[in-house]
Symmetry: C2
Amino acid sequence: MTDLKFEASMSEYLPLRDVVFNTLRQAILRGDLKPGERLMEISLANKLGVSRTPVREAIHKLEQEGLVLMIPRRGAEVAQITEKSLRDVLEVRGALEELAVRLACERMTERALGELNQAAEAFEKILGDSDITAVAEADVAFHDVIYMATDNQRLIALLNNLREQMYRYRVEYLKRRECHAQLLSEHQEIIAAITNKEVERAVEVTCRHIDNQVEAVSDTIRQL
Amino acid sequence: MTDLKFEASMSEYLPLRDVVFNTLRQAILRGDLKPGERLMEISLANKLGVSRTPVREAIHKLEQEGLVLMIPRRGAEVAQITEKSLRDVLEVRGALEELAVRLACERMTERALGELNQAAEAFEKILGDSDITAVAEADVAFHDVIYMATDNQRLIALLNNLREQMYRYRVEYLKRRECHAQLLSEHQEIIAAITNKEVERAVEVTCRHIDNQVEAVSDTIRQL
DNA sequence: GAAACTCTTTATTCATGCATATTTCATCCA
DNA sequence: TGGATGAAATATGCATGAATAAAGAGTTTC
């Protein structure tokens, strides 16, 4: 009993560098730190009440994630997202989403299929809400079930990362309520295809699902 | 004149953390550091004649690349490559190679096509050599031309990373001389397909090209 | 008035110190 | 003898100091 409690309290531990990493990541994705803005170790360390070391390590991690750009001996800044860089991300993401849904068709368990239906229902419920962030999270949860079903850790990690790259603009996309019905019907179509193991149909819907976002997010970027 | 020289000497500059990173990466890929072996900051720092800081930063970078596994408050060790983790990498790599060759068909310039032919010729010349490392590098160079033609930086970075994951076992594969002729003919078939913009044929050959490696590398791993 | 040069300021890079968590090994008890 | 307990050793995590390179301001010169 005490052991379990101990285990639990241990699992709560996060290195300070990861706390800082999450904080900065959120700040970038929420737009509090804008593209081009410089990330200075000392100033951030003071703001966050830690030393320069964990800030430094967090910035390096953000660089590898593609959220910040580092120039040696000059420092780091929040990465600009150009239409080109977004196209690059989405091309890769499209290919990997296709792979994911193929593998999901092949490997999805009954249990996971249940979760997928639940996630779709939860998404439908939340669509009515005014809170866009909640909608985005429900959508993420839905796709996470598919990702998990692939049973491919490397693929899951990459997809999570690529999804993150567009998060800033995705919220803008979801603000257009007229897309919501389409999103929902695509989700249901994906479920149907996976349930019946209709691989090609699942792939086709998924690609359409992604392409819609490409259009919308590209529009959003042009408006900046 | 002095300006040019100055520029040149500047471009030679590499942060110490990157030097250490490259050193450790090479050591892992060459097998000097074996899977499971612990990477200790102090001992590595002493061996390399630097302080713990750049070693620490290099290890973090290696973790993000997937070459080492870190456990908080315990340290880092060289990542084990299991058959499962290799399958994961190769599934992703297959999808991305397919994307790459599709994009290459679409976007390859005349100039790049010339380079591709050159690379294939260079590969053929080197096949005769006894130096396996040279063969591997020529093969890398060939595929790099295709990668570059995609004009997608994100894709290029990912493919380079995935290729690296298998480098240790790839060398074993190339030691089997009976595969060499097949490799060469596949290269030529890929060139022909890209030249004639026969996308589906190019994809088919590329997938076969990858699958052959899956087989061979899996065999190699089982023998460990 | 503009360009160039220098001096100052600022931030990164790398080194090192200190505290703490983990591991190991020896000792003790059942 | 086997397992548990505890103390010493060791390594990581975080903080901070010292050195260097880059950016900026102000002055000088053409």
